[in-house]
Amino acid sequence: MSLTSPLFFAFLAGVVLAYHLNASVSYRRAVLGLGNAIFIGSYLTDYTQVLPLIAFLLLGYGCVSVLSVWKSSVGLGLGILGVLAYYVFLKRFSFFDDFGHLPFPYLTIGLSYILFRVLHVMVDVHSGDLDERIDPLGFFRYTCNFLCFVSGPIQRYQDFRTADGTAVVELDADKVFQAFARVVAGYAKFVMIAAVAEYAFSFLKPQLFQAGDPSFAKLCILYAVAASLYTVYLYYNFSGYMDIVIGSGTLLGQTLPENFDNPFSASSFLEFWQRWHMTLSQWFKFYLFNPLVMLLMSCFPAPALTAYLGVFAFFVTFLVMGVWHGTTAVFVVYGLLMGAGASINKLWQVACTERLGKKRYKTMSETSGYIYFARGVTIGYFVLALTCLWTPELLDFARLIGRLGPAGVLAAFVGIALAFGSFWWLVDRVAPRLTAPAIFATARDSLVGRNLTLASQIMAIVAVTTLLHKSPDFVYKAF
């Protein structure tokens, strides 16, 4: 069921009500487990479609069980390889088409996120960080938590277990209101901003591929605007989804991790990824970047090499993270762009530190001119790299880039960077002057004011959905 469908509301209300009927841990766990099963079941039209997912979970659980008694690095390596191989097979990566595929349609939604959870549990069980025995149903509740099933967030098992039906959930009027406000804010982002941006984007995108001979300037502007609209769509779609699941989680005593922390205020590519899809980047930091840097530093211990090892490790990590986003060749390009962004960022830091010294570089990076410039460049780069996500076929991607040429891409980049840098400059100038009189704030925070705000948001959502005549979907579901 789509999280924007009325069915989901009914389902969520049912789970929340059932959950609070009884405070017994085993009862609540049964409710959550059943909720997950019903949620997954709603995507199926035939029971065979879920069999590959069940096999994936069984494989993961088997590996975890073996690793909990046989803590061998060889075992862990073999387990990771096995789980990854089966994942790649199920996701039907275009490079491995020759290996064949299952001869029937099956469910792949949520698979990427389950993969991260399974690998994390395997590594942590092997290292002894997770020493408790996870029972099969607990493993199912964790890996297939319906709130995080479609697009994350990737919660750690250690955080999940504290709220796995055991949390004392005391819901008062204020908490429930906060939860609803968060959910409604999520829907507002989702069906108003994201859907409108997508509407405009899908109107402009075909024009980029249309036959004819548009002027260079028109093509560049069209590309820059379309790419920016896609970014707005992606961000509000995904962060709206996060608001919905985090708000809903509160009603079930679950504190799900945040995935966004003002990413567009980042003034470097590396900082951007500390603020964007945070649970994904944190996962990669824990389980790929850190072990890789450790291995490299053990092989090349000279401190002078640290920064360069970092450049390499950032490249590899962001390459893999980029490739994870899709199954076609364009996502390798996306991975390369992410890897290049991260390593160029690190090289820039190294060069500036060497040339200016630590203190002068720090002073320079704190000047407002530098911050606006850096924000513009960061976002310009990210916006253009996202082209890979909206042209998933390599042929289309090559056609578009070929049509624009290096000059066109550069012009779009400069245009976006300038527009974005100026936007922040303007916001920082205007925002401090926009202080509403205290009486407005008091009225807004009063019981009537708060409910009126919420009600008007809901009305606006209904109005926009009616106008757009379509039910939006989660973009990250596809990854």
Binding site: V123, S127, Q282, Y287, N290, P291, M297
Partner: protein, 79 residues
Amino acid sequence: MDRDKIYAKLTSVFRDVFDEDDLSLMPETTAEDVDGWDSLSHIRLVLAVSKSFGVKFSASEIGGLKNVGEFVELIQKKT
């Protein structure tokens, strides 16, 4: 190992890794407070601490450290 001893030894490891002779550590000291404590020097620090105290850290311990206090507690648990 005694907490004060851990702090003394850890301070010397920090000074060595971050090349700051007057660096002092408090339980609430975080990466924000130490110049140059980024994701790369964090790994160098962990390696130096592992060597100095003769302990090993797991992936989630390395990634999950929030401040010096947590680091000291972890070392104390392992020594």
